[in-house]
Amino acid sequence: MKSLFVVSWEGFSGKTAFILGLSQVLIENGFKVGYFRPIGRPQTSVTEGTIDPDVLLMKEVLKLPFTLSELTPILIEPNYLSVYAKRDVEKLKNMILTQYGKLSQSSDIMIVEGGVSPETMTAFKLNNINIAELLNSKVLAISGGVSDSSIEKILFYKNILDMKDIPLVGAVLNQVPPHMMEKAEYEYSELLNKNGVKVWGVIPRNYEISSPTVRELLELLEGEILVEGDINRVIEKIFIGAMQTESSLKYFRRSGNNAIITGGDRADIISAAVETNASVIVLTGNMKPSEQVLVKAEEKNITVVMVPQDTYSTVKILEGLTGKIKPSDTYRISLTKKMVYDHIPWRELCDSI
């Protein structure tokens, strides 16, 4: 059985999306794929209780016949150090091993997803490096976006893994913005190769996968939906509509897929948002615009939501808006598969494990 341990340095690298895509590709090509995330990041969900949403996603998509706590035995909670200080480390290790054994039965390949960040659980010798060693996995590093420091982080991983003789099969440079593609493909890849890290793929940023959608915004705001348009549209940029009519057009035109936050009494701004085909219009202060304005939004299939909060509070709430893929999000799930097919020589990668 092959075992691939996928790690990243920081959140939002697109690690989950990559694992999701790779698993689907492997299954589609006849492999039996198992999944394990020994240390997970919990979130509270109304329907599911406290869970790791990424693990739930994998469970649903790969149709894994295990419970969430079997798939993620350890959840990192606040002040986790105090909690685990009282536990027997050896027992924890054994528990992970046993669990892994159970999950990997009848799998051709096990994909293990790394912890929240590289240092997590170092106090108990259960950080990413320790677990990769424990499970005898080969490591793949994913970096989200590219910069000098993200490349160095991969090399830092390589150094530590080398010290422990844990094999690093290589790296994937994910979510690379268009203007960095060339540099990532040549300069950075070459530098990594020179240092013994094979680059399996440079994946361009895809807003459709990484950006939040109108649906997520609506869930977060819980406002009154005045017009339900296309809620699957992504949101790339958020604007506060407080400027003059003429300048609003200038700003809104400069980017696509905008979320525009403004007051219901700013019929001009709302119209400008409609005119520039915004993804969603958020009206603050519970001010409802005239019907005529809403009709235009409806004609263009643009969602309009009204919230009681003021603009600043609304923006604060929207800071929590992230593009997490949900099990029901079949379109984005299929995009992750396409992403791997398009950019990763997956069979070669698989052979190298």
Binding site: P177, P178, H179, K183, Y207, Q244, T245, E246, L249, K250, R253, R254, S255, G256, D265, R266, A267, D268, I270, S271, A272, V274, E275, T276, P289, S290, E291, Q292, V293, L294, V295, K296, E298, E299
Partner: protein, 704 residues
Amino acid sequence: MSNSNTLMTSLFNPKSVCVIGASTKPGKLGYNILENIVKYGYPGRVYPVNPHYQNILGLKVYSSVSEIDDEIDLAVIVIPAEAVVKVAEECGVKQVKNIVVISAGFKETGKEGAEREKALKDICEKYKMKLLGPNCLGVIDTFTPLNASFAAQMPLKGNIAFISQSGALGTAILDWSFKNRIGFSKVISLGNKADLSESDFIAALAEDVNTKVILLYIEDVKDGDKFIENLRKTVRIKPVLVLKSGSSAAGQRAAASHTGSLAGSKIAYETMFKQFGALQVETISDLFNYAKVFSTQPLPKDNAVCILTNAGGPGIIATDACERYGLKLASLNSETLNNLRKQLPSNASIYNPVDILGDAQPERYYTALEALKNDDNISSIIIILTPQATTKPTETVLKLIKLVDKLDKPVTFSIMGGEQVTEAKKILSENNIPVFSFPEDAVESIAALTRYTFIREKKLSHRKFRISANKEAVREIIKKVLNEGRRTLLSSEACKILGFYGVKTPKVYLASNSDEACSAATEIGYPVTLKIASPDIIHKSDVGGVALNVKNEEDVRKIFIGMVANAHKFFPNARIYGVEVYEYVEKSREVIIGVNKDLQFGHLLMFGLGGVYVNFLRDVAFRIVPVNTQDIDEMIKETRVYTLLKGVRGEKPADIDSVIKTIIAASQLVQDFPVISELDVNPLFVYNKGEGCMAVDVKMSLYI
């Protein structure tokens, strides 16, 4: 214009009219409209339609349109909105040519209404019926005569056509017109403009022999291109006066809330009206003041005015107003002066303004006007009368009327005063001679008339001037930008694009690290200018993103690092591509050339004083694209910076020809690539005549 002809006959002069929703109850619209048609003498055949009645106003009532055994030119529909679409379809089947939907309850009421309006529009398209409204007052033609509206009265017959987007304003104006003895040829209430709009009607009225002047009240224009097309043709034939509301920021908000859509900008509307020959007015009173003059007076030859007055003060006030409104005081020819000298008392002023003194009797006014009558130097005459001790206002006016009728020049009166002059003013009005209380109004309306003379006589240049451009290369750059998911171009890309249209720009390289920046600087030659390269940072100099006159490699390196760090600090989410290294160019006079895409009228071109003060001094002029060299020449001359370009205080004149060429390039570029929504060349350095100009900083945005 065959469409307009059909409209003229079958809508304004139909052979048969049916009123669907006719009622027996006075006070109901269905009754009022039918009554208006019958009462005001419509000569064609009238068919009331209503399944509940047999007879209204002595006419046989039909239970549906299909029952009528006649061809129907016009159907007026005044039934509840929910039933309109079905009835319109019946009209379609019956091959009715025009329908006027009076009923409200469409787009103006919300979603359901909007869907209803769409369905109504589709029916009309399907059966090729013209549709006026819905949600309108109706249509009136005083010559047919046809009053297919629910207006309380029939307006007086006249040669003014009035098109109004607001029904309520229409009724108010009609009522007011009686008091002011203003007559109309046609009154059209546009309503929601689902099909027929202002553009259709100005084209139709251009050909209407009964209409001398077209008045337009609008909140927006439905189709910018069509309006421009029809307007420019119409103003060659007769004047179009426009009152456009919703131009203030609050007004624009109110209009957006009212119509649900954003009208084009105030500047775009003003530019469009001016460029294509409509006379825009600011107030309702101006609209009708001007209308009075346009409907009764001949056009002046040019802007030379003669003022005839019995009072010095008002004469001077009128003189000031002339200058303010672009008129000049005519210099009277020697024959006129001799005549005046002979006939007038020696202390009268025979030079323009002609002051015939406070004791002027009707006879003196008459002889003076007689003397001015045939002076070719005079294009229009303003007659001022103030009631002084021995003045006889009524008699004076009665005496002058006979002469005014024979003049081939426009005349306006300013009869000042109250009780004493009421009769005199009434007489003038009754004789279709424009009269105002105050001299400024008399001058302003003559100025409007003069402006129209210039509009009508303006020679249209058809000279096409095209710059040979490398469109393929431009297309490549735009494609690359869009592929990267960007809408804002880097300056280096924007410069290249202008370069492909023959505009000189400084050498520029994009450097993504300090090594590249240094070699770019060496290649270009020191000193250089460095600018942060990020599509997300628009006002670069505000965040330390511009360094001028950088002299050596060490500085380039330091500035590169600092600039990028600064950009990250101020705009944490901005995409930073690096730094652009520019060739240093010699400073010169700074002008701005800008293009912005207006929602209604497309690309709006701007020219004016450039540099950092552009937003403060606002010395700019606008035109709607496309423009020809004549337009550009006029546009440049509208600005104060033109004076600077010509050279002041011994300065050499600037290369204005190269500015014109650059403007043509900008206009042609956005025409070739409508995807460009914004272009800003600021500054364009203009060197001395023969030395060209250079686009130093170029911003460009796309909008798909």
